[in-house]
């Protein structure tokens, strides 16, 4: 089981690096879909089946299709094809700074000073008994009712905003 985690972790990092280094944006987008699938597989191994399902359905299915749709809408126009990363001194500094921050985060994860909080009540056995989707549904309509309502308004605003912005031509 653990071997599969490392395989998928490696695959997800390789395809994430593909997003960074591939020249054609469409190849980058397809590489990102690969990352999302690998992450979905990792979520299953971490007892988060519901998250894995919405990861594949919403991220790989809906959001990335939207990205590809926009990319292909613009792809035969001039100025779409991009070159590889053009290195300038400023970008080199940015890359080194990012690497330093990454090493700092990793060392803080590995340091003995990192402590976790009190464990909650939803351990794997309890969740498996009720079913994870039943637990999530109950929480969504009790404890998280207000965020749930607010997020529906956010979606409505996003839909209307997208239509308004994409329709208008500003000069």
């Amino acid at each position: 089981m653990q071997v599969f985690f490392y395989i998928f972790a490696l695959l997800s990092i390789v395809s994430a690096a593909g997003v960074l280094f591939l020249r054609n944006p469409i190849h980058s987008a397809l590489s990102l879909v690969g990352t999302f699938f690998c992450l979905g597989a990792i979520y299953v191994m971490l007892n988060a089946e519901f998250v894995a399902v919405i990861q594949v359905l919403v991220y790989a299915g809906a959001i990335m299709v939207l990205f590809l749709f926009v990319l292909m809408l613009l792809s035969n126009e001039e100025g779409m094809q991009q070159h590889a990363i053009r290195w300038t001194p400023a970008k080199g500094v940015a890359a080194v700074a990012t690497l330093v921050v990454f090493l700092q985060i990793v060392s803080s994860f590995l340091s003995p000073a990192m402590r976790l909080g009190e464990p909650g009540t939803y351990d794997a056995a309890t969740v498996a008994e009720t079913g994870s989707i039943a637990v999530i549904g109950r929480l969504l309509f009790t404890e998280y009712l207000l965020p749930f309502e607010v997020i529906s308004i956010l979606l409505l605003v996003a839909v209307i905003g997208a239509v308004v912005i994409a329709k208008r031509r500003f000069n």
Binding site: Q2, F5, L20, S28, A95, F109, L139, I165
Partner: protein, 100 residues
């Protein structure tokens, strides 16, 4: 049992690749995809902590993060389409509308 630290390191690595994408690439859509990658890295650390701490809060947060990411993608892509119409390019260095 997968060690939580390894999942967190994977999450940090994916997040750093996303940051590098934002810093190094000049195509707006690729930068936008890097932002999605960073959101996913955060989701991964939420799942890791939710499993370790026997909590459901992390999963609920992911639910909301994914909705916000979808809304963000829709609005962001429509802004990109609109910018492309006025500038005829996707290079972020050409977008200096706010510079005055």
């Amino acid at each position: 049992m997968i060690p939580t630290t390894h999942v967190l390191i994977l999450s940090a690595a994916l997040f750093s690749i996303g940051v590098l994408g934002v810093m190094l690439r000049r195509n707006v859509i690729v930068i936008f995809m890097s932002i999605e990658l960073m959101l996913n890295a955060v989701n991964l650390s939420f799942v890791a902590f939710a499993r370790t701490l026997d909590s459901m809060n992390g999963v609920m947060f992911i639910f909301f993060i994914i909705v916000v990411a979808a809304a963000e993608a829709v609005v962001g892509l429509s802004i990109i389409l609109s910018l492309y119409r006025s500038r005829k390019t996707l290079n972020i260095d050409e977008f200096n509308l706010l510079k005055g």
